[in-house]
Symmetry: C3
Subunit: 128 residues, 3 copies
Amino acid sequence: MQKLKIKTNYKSEVVDITKEIKEAVIKSGVKSGIVTIFCPHTTANVILFENSDTTLKRDLLSMLKDIVPFKEYSHSNARAHLKASFLRSNLTLIIENADVVLGQWQGIYLIEFDGPRERNVLLKVISD
Amino acid sequence: MQKLKIKTNYKSEVVDITKEIKEAVIKSGVKSGIVTIFCPHTTANVILFENSDTTLKRDLLSMLKDIVPFKEYSHSNARAHLKASFLRSNLTLIIENADVVLGQWQGIYLIEFDGPRERNVLLKVISD
Amino acid sequence: MQKLKIKTNYKSEVVDITKEIKEAVIKSGVKSGIVTIFCPHTTANVILFENSDTTLKRDLLSMLKDIVPFKEYSHSNARAHLKASFLRSNLTLIIENADVVLGQWQGIYLIEFDGPRERNVLLKVISD
């Protein structure tokens, strides 16, 4: 298992971690298989998202704000937990030619709902 | 493949299955690898969620009730299916030192939208 | 890694790909393990969904339309990206007896939000 440390700078933020993930896969030495990427937090997640238009990241955060209702919840930062529960807290991706397989417009992101903090992202590479 | 049987007691419910999953991983004998956890149902799911504040579970069920609109759908229990489609019906987690890697505040839960029933949770452990 | 090509015919559509996935798993020769199914697109996804009542597919598309607000986003086809971000863009399923393990009412679907197009679905099979 490898561990990455990712610093977030805002309350809500979408941070590109594609490069860090690709480097970790190369470091593992596995040429063909899968990688499970895991975020051990309840108010942050790892997601796949569009990699070219940065305004889309604002659109995503804006939509999550609209969707999770501003009502009284029992838990203090309930909305951060609920936003995170929508999204995946793990990803399993394919490795081919020692590289993570992604579409042309796809990147891997940490999405933060209760920052700023230092977050961990864990990886496990499995060879086929 | 291992199969767990989980009893739910209410129409909608969030049931902690972390202990059962950890025991199944120990039983597999795998010390390092990944585990795929799968819920073979269309109105229940397995999710990661916050493990300490039980009021957050009510907040999650309440939010899903708000989000999936109370309108006329074609299918009889459409809302249960649609709530389930939001969430993941499978999880792949990392195994290290014969234990499932989870954050301090994370637990593994079965989320029921059409209970009470007996539900199956399936596991497959892969060694690295 | 295997690659499937799936043609979509409408702007929004839910296409059953269960048979194609099962054939790819048989072709891999793996009898027991897991399969990671990956959709390398940002406005389409692979999901598990109910396989018997076709009206539920309309209900799902209708709900996503209701949920992602019709407001001004910065990106041109933002709503297609945001709908896709709700759902999983990958699935890892269990293989037993050379077959994908699914519940009685579960099928594997490509969900299209910006068609019609030809879409790719990638598979990687891992033996246990």
